[in-house]
Symmetry: D2
Subunit: 314 residues, 4 copies
Amino acid sequence: MSRLAFLGPRATFTEQALRSMPGTAGAELVPCAGSPAVLAAVRDGTAEAGCVPIENSVEGAVPAVLDGLIADPPLVIVREALLPVRFAVLVRAGTTTADVRTVASHPHAIAQTRGFIAAHLPDATVVSSTSTAEAAAQVARGEFDAAVSAPLAAEQHGLEVLVDDIADNAGAVTRFALVARPGPPPEPTGRDRTSLAATTQNRPGALLGLLTELAVRGIDLTRIESRPIKDRHAEYWFHLDCTGHVAEPAMGEALAALYRRCDRVRFLGSYPRAGNGASHPGPEVPPLPIGGSDAAQFAASQEWLAGLRAGSTA
Amino acid sequence: MSRLAFLGPRATFTEQALRSMPGTAGAELVPCAGSPAVLAAVRDGTAEAGCVPIENSVEGAVPAVLDGLIADPPLVIVREALLPVRFAVLVRAGTTTADVRTVASHPHAIAQTRGFIAAHLPDATVVSSTSTAEAAAQVARGEFDAAVSAPLAAEQHGLEVLVDDIADNAGAVTRFALVARPGPPPEPTGRDRTSLAATTQNRPGALLGLLTELAVRGIDLTRIESRPIKDRHAEYWFHLDCTGHVAEPAMGEALAALYRRCDRVRFLGSYPRAGNGASHPGPEVPPLPIGGSDAAQFAASQEWLAGLRAGSTA
Amino acid sequence: MSRLAFLGPRATFTEQALRSMPGTAGAELVPCAGSPAVLAAVRDGTAEAGCVPIENSVEGAVPAVLDGLIADPPLVIVREALLPVRFAVLVRAGTTTADVRTVASHPHAIAQTRGFIAAHLPDATVVSSTSTAEAAAQVARGEFDAAVSAPLAAEQHGLEVLVDDIADNAGAVTRFALVARPGPPPEPTGRDRTSLAATTQNRPGALLGLLTELAVRGIDLTRIESRPIKDRHAEYWFHLDCTGHVAEPAMGEALAALYRRCDRVRFLGSYPRAGNGASHPGPEVPPLPIGGSDAAQFAASQEWLAGLRAGSTA
Amino acid sequence: MSRLAFLGPRATFTEQALRSMPGTAGAELVPCAGSPAVLAAVRDGTAEAGCVPIENSVEGAVPAVLDGLIADPPLVIVREALLPVRFAVLVRAGTTTADVRTVASHPHAIAQTRGFIAAHLPDATVVSSTSTAEAAAQVARGEFDAAVSAPLAAEQHGLEVLVDDIADNAGAVTRFALVARPGPPPEPTGRDRTSLAATTQNRPGALLGLLTELAVRGIDLTRIESRPIKDRHAEYWFHLDCTGHVAEPAMGEALAALYRRCDRVRFLGSYPRAGNGASHPGPEVPPLPIGGSDAAQFAASQEWLAGLRAGSTA
């Protein structure tokens, strides 16, 4: 890929996530102002793909991304990355904690480091910036003394890390997606995720029906979010992330079932899951009405069915 | 078919049901003593097919038929018939109601005509016979004055119908099945039934899971019965009758799902439904999580899925 | 209890089951011809309670019992018994196997001992009787040489057991119920069963909804059977046996839910479970959407809810 | 209420939403920097209640609000408001479209008015601000020529509305919540919403089980969102908005069931629903396994159950 858009400015968490994805070395990375601009750049061909936050972001409004993904023309996710949310205090070389009279950052970053600031910079004036990277730029230009930012921004703007890992709650993670125009999905790896969005009739139990289609086929849900449909009162797009790949029989059967059941279904990509985590560590037998999604079992059941149809009941 | 077994003796409701099935003209009809004997005759090749009651029978113990169907080697149902349960008082020519001092029948037939007997034959001694047809034979032999029996038995034994339609509750129907050794199922007619039996792990919700597999694919249940598994405490075979045919995609997918989910599944045949009744008269939209079983929808969803796998999201 | 009806004649399996129930010593046991007659005797006050087979019976047509239980006025089950189906060859004193030229029994008993008869009495003529006890009586009267019957019938008719335990498939069990007119149910024992019958709207998924009400409250199903509703095409009574007692909160909530959901619900009694079998031997955590039925948990959840309503969220 | 916090600065959409809620006249409205600061002000007693966006916000990161609501000590929602997202171009008096060389706004507001800016201000330099209200303030101070902002900000900063209603997609709505420390919930109005959050065991079907508890009791879902639990890999809080009030029997039974089923449940308030919209306009009979939530039906079913327990089956 030669040209990749991302939620800018440079040195945000999104750029860091994009750089962590395989296949980005050598590509031209193009910052865009806002996630909608990233999606637009992919849609109009300005970029081959684009990186946006899709879950739990500090700076990017995730709802905007979800809404943007289901707009037309279609886009699909081809890769994902998880990034720990890590904040550092960045300063110009030589600045000490005692020197810091002003500290700038994005309001959400300030909120997540409130405890540190109260304890260690109690007298500093806190200033809002439009992004953590912009805050670093402002420090580099001498407008403020310190920025709360991703460590990556230090290098970018010639700053130093005064204190690292200052988030009040360690362990937060943001998930980023690389989106592209439709094409054959990445090969299954055995540890894949499939994203989709669907609308259903606005009636009680509609979501239950949708989830049952997944559960009986052993498809596990890793994220769910409802988004109101513009201009249609009390109707929703449900955004779902599931385990599995469209090339697998269980996921294929489930998607086909949603196609029949739902008013609209948008396939948003099958791609390798990021992270080390097995979502179900134990050897647990799936409880019922949860079904199994094992491909060999699907094959065996198809063979049995073919036999039945031909007159054998063995 | 040249040789067809049935639950005898001659002139029972079962023979009447068998004669009502297409393709029985010209066949040799062989009465057997008990439904198990009918199934044995089909299994050992003595008969090409056999007719037994499978639901709501007056004389045949339906549990024995259900247990027999899942024994080995496999058998499948290839046709069914519904027969109104109709009782008549049969007598030798010239007998009047006032002449009837003894009335014979199968105990279940007696139970179902108790009201009539009390009102019209209050002084008659009631005698138990091993079948309604045997009661007619006993009357023909002069052992008793009247038999409560199927009207068919009159012709068979040279008797007359003294009073017809004497059941206390009109409207009872018995369902009969013609079973055969496995072979290609009858062609789908659009109004078919599929019978199957399945065992599940003995855990709460196991049956719920099984029924969910049917419901999400729009398969409607028309009968369900649990039968304890011999020698395995508290485990059950579930006998199910469903709408649809194994050749159809919805039923095929559902059967394949049961194959994966259940410990054992026995396909017991797809065959034309008897009776006039649409089981769902209205134009009702199927509620959720109930799915649709429309074959065209299945085909459309498969096409859409093939597109997804090839890289199209249209 | 002073007067108890049962499915006769004397010395059938049903009498044996009735005698095994606590509280029958000293009662007058009254045989009735057919299960419907037993239920009628209880309804009209002739008997205080009545014993009928309700599952897997050799001689009693279980469908007739199920239909009879939901007729009016209401009846409830107050006790159950499990009886192994055990067949013996009964003869007059001095008769040896070589002497047996005729063997009589109920056709279903003959069917279940077919293997033994073929092997050990290959030349005997097999004769149908209206019950196994009647066969024993016929042998006692000298009409036939041997009867296939419950061992109890030997004592009753002054016969001897020539060979015991001759069923082809050992391990079959029949379940019997003692029914009475409505009254406060027996005290909960911690190992109880509740029987009920319900009708639902004739629409796909109706049964699924009914079972879901039970499953989410941790109620386990031990038997299910559909019975067509007389005169109403394609509509069914579902007969269910469940674990638990109406006095318990989980069962109470489930019954109340069925009352709201179903067209009709008939409570058919809560009573101690017969048999030794824990239906779920393991310490298994109930899978979802299966709920828990633990009474202490219900109490704790009620307390929490009361707190919420009063303004506490702790 | 005398002191109410809100997501500042002044003249944002959040202040506008807060002012639309009954009972805010005469209260002191206190802007806070970021939704977390609003929640903190309520928790520490600085404010009696606080207003934050919880769905579909332009400027407020909704994920931060959801995470903040389930932190300790508990908070509950006591009121909600829906606000159309409406953007206007604000300028100093006398400025015409031709004069606008620079336009400032929050990046998400810019993204949502991209079409208008490209068509009508194609040559203007677009500048990012930390909020739409801050952009208006910057215009008031003469730093930029125009702001894309809520019309409310015009009055606040002495600006004029040059063009109103410039959002590319009309019809977007943001939902705001007024949160307070726990106390008795507002009286039921018959059109209420209940918010809650729950965690379940991380196993397939866990969410399905949770939703089934709601569905069988006729509780309708109006929003669902999963939020990863900090520090616990692949585990989620599910945030749910439902129809109904904790004081009603259906909702009470459902909450008690979740208490038993889920690892943790947080009740987040019952309060009047904003908006005109009946979520289910039609007279539709709820499909099954969806239950009914009618209070009269619940009362009738309780009476029936009490009768059963006392020995009546009528």
